[in-house]
């Protein structure tokens, strides 16, 4: 079980972004983390996966527990080995690698080499489309196929907790349904917990058992998926989403440029 106790997060020691976030993910459940742009959802995921350190961020207060062990001081490698894997926001495929090579990278930490082949086959079972594309350079895949690959790359690491950051971003509704159905199947068949960050509230609550809503670095509302679906504020938030959606593509462009500078 994953447990966040009142965590505070700051970037560069000064930019405080999370102000006391608490949440938990029971084993085998799907939990949705909802909220508008800039609410602190991705930061929360990065705090859990240890990727915060990469961006000069740190958990400055509170603690994160994974099956009883405190993990908020560990780095991404240690946390990955403990079974928590994050798929980043924005379809970060390795563009010059083939689909299969992307999956091989995902399985890199597996000690048991014999199992890697069957793990990759498992991903192909969930995403038959990826199997057909296995030798293709992933930079040339469509957006939906890239999203499938990013999720498959997290699956192949055999996580106990899989964290997905806005898997529906910029995809056609039909494709979103398809991908979400696969996430749900993976969760029930493999008993893998899923922590799902989304702005698309409707699809997220469609498969989640429990949800948290974030605003300005705080959890402002939480409850079972059914409770949240019927909540008036959620309905309004959900209706207001289209306005946010309009800004989203602009931000995606900015984000992409920032990534380019990293290379």
């Amino acid at each position: 079980m994953l447990k966040l106790n009142n965590i505070e997060v700051a970037y560069l020691n000064i930019i405080r972004v999370l102000h006391g976030v608490s949440l938990q993910v029971e084993d085998g459940s799907i939990v949705a983390l909802l909220g508008a742009n800039g609410a602190g959802k991705s930061t929360t995921l990065k705090a859990i996966s240890g990727l915060l350190h990469v961006e000069d961020g740190a958990v400055t207060d509170g603690e994160i527990e994974w099956n009883g062990a405190k993990i908020h001081k560990k780095n991404a490698e240690e946390i990955g080995k403990m079974g928590i894997i994050q798929a980043l926001e924005g379809r970060h495929v390795f563009g010059h690698l083939t689909v299969e090579e992307n999956l091989i990278v995902g399985s890199y930490n597996r000690k048991d080499r014999g199992a890697i082949k069957s793990d990759i086959e498992m991903v192909y079972d969930y995403f038959p489309r990826l199997k057909a594309l296995r030798r293709k350079m992933s930079g040339y895949l469509s957006g939906g196929e890239q999203q499938m690959l990013v999720i498959g790359r997290a699956m192949v690491a055999q996580p106990k907790l899989m964290m997905l950051d806005e898997p529906s971003l910029g995809l056609a509704p039909l494709l979103v349904e398809e991908i979400y159905e696969i996430i749900r199947r993976f969760n029930t068949e493999r008993k893998v917990s899923v922590l799902l960050v989304e702005q698309n509230v409707r699809v997220a609550l469609g498969i989640a058992h429990y949800g948290y809503v974030m605003e300005n670095g705080r959890v402002v509302l939480d409850g079972t998926a059914d409770f949240l679906k019927n909540n008036e504020d959620i309905k309004e938030f959900y209706l207001g989403l289209s306005a946010v959606g309009a800004q989203k593509s602009f931000r995606a462009v900015k984000h992409y440029k920032r990534r380019k500078r990293w290379l």
Binding site: N75, F94, E101, I104, Y108, N109, L141, Y256
Partner: protein, 294 residues
Amino acid sequence: MSMFLQFTVTGIAVGLVYSLIALGFVMVWKSSGVANLSMGQMLLLFAWFAYSMLAQKGIPIWLALILVLVFSLAVGWLMERVILRPLIAQPILSLITVTLGVSFVITGLVSFLWPKGIAALPRLFPQNPVHIGSAIVSQEYLWAAVISLMLFALLSLYFKYNRTGIVMRATADDQKAVQACGIAVTKIFSRSWMLAGALAAISGVLMASIGGITFGLVDTGMRAFSVVILGGLDSFLGAIVAGPIIGLAQMVGGGYLTPLTWPGVNDVIPFIIIIIVMFIKPFGLFGEERIERI
């Protein structure tokens, strides 16, 4: 005609060694974004180290060469671990400057440890020259070419089939996503520095067995920079193709032009080629195509 053939063969052979050095540079650049300006000095250091090992009585040649290889891996590892890792996330200019600093340190160290400054490497290859058509070429050139080609093949297998090799390519694409997979990129950095060290050692020994050990080995390293710029900073294929181009330009062009112009013209020719190519293809001949699909 025999002159031309001779220039061509030696040009290609030397060029392939330039490619080896360039590969070491490209590897570090692609995986960690550091431009290693000390490749030439590393060549010099490893050539001298090989000289010392080979000169030891009682150590068989094969063992001496293995020791050189181990030493070069260790130096590569050390450079990453001790010098570059503490500077992760520092501005790119600091990273480049620090490799320049390393190159001065190595130069100083070499002058200190091997003050005579010039030496011939004990012979590694058979002495009798080979006739290729009408040309006569000494065997070192051919061995250099064959060994380089074998290493290219080995490296491309490594990057295609070895899991760590694949992760090294992934790191070149998207470092953060590699970390998100729970992989320690620092291990990948250190692997690429070790490989760069080994390539510098092998090319250092090959060049030294062709032309002896002199500070000219540093210029050889500089020529590898021309190769990298010509081929494209981020392209392995570019490094392999551009090496022989630079080697040919230098040997053939230099061979014919030197009697007509001035000695040293052969060092200018590669740069003229680069300038022309830069006008036409600013990212180098094989600068990696940017896949932009949003």
